[in-house]
């Protein structure tokens, strides 16, 4: 008996060290290739328009992006979405071109003029075939500088926005975001995600024109061009399109005082099969020296697929499909949040796991190996972010918005790699404090309330 047992052990040891139980390791790959940020040319027109040209790629296309430093942040409390309506109305023709002409001219160049309004910025942009770059700049310059704002179209635009508002109010994700922003920014435009329908219906053409005059102008504007183009010809086109524009208003800085501290907001959605969760708090913004540490920490904690929270509540527990954590990106103001749609019946358990992962990272640094994986991931995605025309413009626009120097980008990968396991732990302790978070749940109140009573110690603000 004894000898058989010994033999078995020996054979097992033999097999496991030589083969079938041992897994093959992935090949390392070759030597890293050089990556440098694309070269750019920058100049400022006399009236203040800041121009950035980035030759990039070989595909014969060019992206033109005119970014004006105005958006929802410039709205009064009764004007929520006025900035969006102004954006819509800018597509309704110029003093010399009808809306149809603008659309057809852009289409003839292979693109559209698209207008996107965010809280901090309004962007008028498009992608066209390279040969039409200069013509497109002229068209887009006309749209930005000479909007007609025809009163005949305002009613239709407003009706569309009212519909949009109502559709948003039926979506759990929008409702959760609204409640979360209201909790963090109670007295600031950032906290006003949706207008009151009656306010929206009251907008007049004078409101639209007034907002435009007050907020659009050369010194609030940057022009970015990326892709395949002749720099000299493009520069000439930009000068012709923008040089005569008035300086306009200076940038209005309105940094919110965000609310920190535990609060709880339950938005009733009877019968909902999932609870939509926002859980987070105000954090440092991009201009802070600790910001890169926070980016690394976020990616490791919940901001990437292999992150701890996602591994836990999706891959281990199966509570959810697409959870993520994020650091927002507004001027001198940011928040961290974990966002997830979890099964109604596991709302409490999911929250428990999220908090446990935060607490775990507060109490113990990650292994050097786990951190290395995240650092490599961020370095790799940085290359990707700078490998498309729109991505390059996005990065440079971001630098400009936050007033950061070029070294922010050129040193970014180095700074990511410099973060230590202890930094991650300290960053979690310092900035991702679960006891100071706002918790929003959009879900079936009757089924959820009992599950979450342990997490809600103060100020339950039912709705």
């Amino acid at each position: 008996m004894k000898s058989i047992l010994v033999k078995t052990i020996v054979i097992t040891a033999f097999l496991s060290s030589f083969g079938w139980a041992q897994k093959e390791l992935p090949p390392e790959g070759g030597k890293p290739r050089d990556f440098s940020l694309p070269q750019k040319q920058q100049f400022t027109l006399e009236n203040g328009v800041a121009v950035t040209l980035v030759p990039f790629g070989t595909i014969p296309k060019v992206t033109v992006s005119v970014v004006v430093r105005t958006g929802n942040v410039n709205e009064e409390a009764h004007q929520v979405w006025l900035a969006d309506v102004v954006g819509d109305m800018m597509k309704e023709g110029t003093t010399s071109r009808s809306a149809t002409q603008v659309a057809q001219e852009a289409a003839q160049m292979g693109g559209d003029v698209s207008i996107n309004v965010t809280p901090d910025q309004s962007t008028i942009s498009g992608d066209v075939l390279s040969e039409f770059g200069p013509k497109f700049i002229a068209l887009i310059g006309d749209v930005v500088r000479n909007p007609l704002f025809p009163e005949s179209e305002l009613e239709r635009i407003k009706v569309g926005r009212v519909r949009d508002l109502n559709v948003n109010l039926a979506q759990p994700g929008s409702l959760a975001q609204e409640a979360f922003m209201r909790a963090l920014y109670p007295d600031h435009p950032y906290g006003r995600v949706f207008p009151k329908q009656a306010d929206l219906e009251r907008f007049t053409i004078d409101d639209v024109k007034g907002f435009y005059v007050k907020n659009f102008g050369a010194q609030r504007t940057a022009v970015f061009v990326a892709g395949v183009f002749d720099a000299k010809v493009i520069e000439k086109a930009i000068r012709r399109a923008f040089e005569g524009w008035e300086k306009g208003p200076a940038v209005l800085v309105n940094v919110p005082k965000a609310r920190t501290g535990q609060s709880f907001h339950l938005v009733e959605r009877p019968g909902a099969p999932q609870s939509t969760i926002y859980f987070g708090l105000p954090v440092i913004d991009k201009s802070d020296n600790d910001y890169v540490k926070l980016v690394v920490t976020n990616s490791l904690l919940g901001g990437s697929f292999a992150s701890r929270i996602t591994s836990n509540i999706r891959e281990k527990k199966g509570y959810t499909y697409s959870p993520y954590s994020m650091v927002s990106n507004r001027y001198r103001s940011a928040f961290w949040a974990e966002v997830a749609d979890v099964g109604t019946e596991v709302t409490g358990p999911a929250l428990k796991e999220i908090i446990a992962e935060i607490n775990q990272l507060q109490s113990e640094p990650p292994s050097a190996d786990e951190l290395k994986g995240i650092q490599n991931y961020l370095a790799g995605t940085f290359v990707l972010q700078n490998s498309t025309r729109q991505g390059i413009i996005g990065q440079l626009n971001d630098l400009r918005l936050h007033g950061l120097p070029d070294v922010y980008l050129s040193n970014y990968v180095k700074n990511v790699h410099a973060v230590t396991p202890e930094d991650v732990q300290k960053t979690t302790q310092k900035y991702i404090r679960d006891e100071d978070m706002a918790l929003v749940i959009v879900g079936d109140k009757a089924k959820v309330e009992e599950q979450i009573k342990d997490f809600v110690k103060v100020n339950p603000e039912g709705k």
């Binding site: 595909i59 289409a107 519909r163 292999a306 993520y324």
Partner: protein, 456 residues
């Protein structure tokens, strides 16, 4: 169904938007490099170098989509896609994902009508690592009951989040094929009944893998910064030994000619505004009428200058936007069977569905009644060319890999990518009119109306 691993919904949306672009190869001489090989085991390999940035896309396409999944296992093709991330011979659960991430890459997978794809975008020097990993999971899976149960939970939450807990959930992309088609393969619930998803067993997983995930039922596309010779050597090293498997014959996917207009009303208890979608069966791929349909899509529906937008949005003010295209889960090239051209919009209760259909018909009747003018056709061609350029460079080269793999799988001819423009250019105003007359017939369409019943 859509993309499964993205941590951020917005990136998924952006990605889908890219895939919706349809295109033509440029007249100005831009050609996509295409090198096509076949391994002895039948694996199709397409190489397309592009040295714009030091990254590379590895995309593996299996010739199995949700259309032909087992009849008692609706949603299984998609559930199975999730299993491909749950462990293979040398990579345990989460290890595939971690391997790609820690090498600086991103990855995803998706299930569509006629294929399931898996892809990574990695730094160029990690090409071999990515190929090894894809070969590893093509060689065999190692799935436990625990992992299957876990992903059944994930998929059920995916369906809840995308369909059941959303107003207009599944409208129109998931709903419309179920109403417009008559053949089960084209008309079942592709996301799957929750009961079917829950009923899946490990045996189902093993059988599905054995049947469909063989090299002779797959295509591998590599796009980006690499040397074709070196890449081919790596492909052979890791994929050549994987054995081929006999393939079952493909079921009959055909749809009969539709002779009568269908009109369907679906109540939506989460919505507060009505919505409407209209879908027509499109001409068979690669026929002259098919290319004409691609141009009709541009003329009628794509971009701010499109006729339907001009009429329904600008002139009538019925909606703020009308959107759609051929194959809402991809583009007009990456499928292989019957397909719909579909458009949808949201509107107010003050406007009836009949009003909208009438305004719609004013546009459609016009392209049936007379040939479109040359300027409109030329504009459509420019739009196609411009969007094609973005397609072949889009998502770091993934858009190109998608077309190349689709053309290899479905046509055994990835070089088709460079012939598309000629085919579109052959289309005359007369052919457009003829195509519109046959395929935009009212009898060839299905109208789907969403009736809002919020709170009921």
């Amino acid at each position: 169904m859509r993309n499964h691993l993205a941590g951020n919904r917005r990136s998924v949306i952006a990605f889908l938007a890219l895939l919706c672009l349809v295109g033509v190869v440029g007249a100005e001489g831009f050609r996509v490099p295409v090198e096509y090989h076949k391994l002895d085991n039948g694996l199709k390999v397409i190489l397309s170098p592009d040295h714009t940035s030091p990254t590379v896309v590895v995309a593996v396409y299996y010739n199995i989509g949700f259309r032909i999944e087992p009849k008692d296992r609706t949603g299984f093709a998609h559930l199975f896609e999730h299993m491909m991330f749950q462990g293979s011979k040398n990579l345990g659960k989460m290890e595939f994902i971690k391997l790609v991430q820690r090498n600086g890459g991103v990855l995803n997978g998706s299930t569509r009508f006629d294929f399931t794809n898996y892809f990574e975008v990695v730094p160029a020097h990690k090409l071999e690592t990515a190929l090894w990993a894809e070969a590893d999971r093509m060689s065999g899976l190692s799935i436990t009951q625990e992992n299957l149960t876990n992903q059944q939970g994930v998929v059920i939450n995916e369906v809840r989040g995308s369909v059941l807990n959303q107003p207009y959930g599944g409208f129109p992309w998931l709903d419309m094929p179920q109403y417009a088609n008559t053949n089960w393969y084209n008309a079942h619930n592709f996301y799957g009944d929750l009961a079917d998803i829950e009923a899946a067993t490990l045996e189902d997983v093993t059988q599905f893998f054995k049947t469909y995930y063989a090299p002779n039922n797959a295509a591998l596309a590599i796009v980006g910064d690499f040397d074709p010779k070196e890449a081919m050597a790596m492909v052979k090293k890791y994929f050549a030994a994987i054995p081929a498997a006999p393939q079952p014959s493909k079921p009959d996917l055909s749809e009969p000619r539709q002779e009568k207009q269908k009109r369907v009303i679906k109540e939506d208890t989460l919505a507060n505004r009505p919505a409407l979608a209209i879908a027509y069966h499109v001409p068979e791929r690669k026929t002259p009428e098919f290319y004409a349909m691609g141009l009709l899509d541009q003329i009628l529906l794509q971009g701010d200058d499109s006729k339907l937008r001009e009429h329904l949005v600008q002139k009538k003010g019925y909606t703020a936007g009308v959107s759609g295209g051929i194959n809402l889960l991809g583009n007009m090239h990456n499928y292989n069977g019957p397909m719909l051209w579909m458009a949808s919009l949201l509107h107010d209760k003050s406007v009836s569905a009949d009003d909208i259909v009438q305004a719609w018909d004013e546009v459609i009747d016009d392209v049936i009644a007379k040939p479109v003018d040359r300027a409109t056709l030329d504009r459509a061609l420019v739009k196609l060319r411009s969007s094609f350029y973005d397609e072949v460079s889009g998502f770091f080269g993934f858009g190109r890999a998608d077309l190349l793999a689709s053309f290899a799988l479905f046509d055994d001819d990835p070089a088709r990518i460079n012939t598309l423009e000629d085919e579109f250019r052959k289309v005359t105003p007369e052919l457009l009119q003829k195509t519109a007359a046959e395929f935009l017939r009212a009898e060839n369409r299905t109208i789907l109306i969403i009736e809002p019943k919020q709170g009921s």
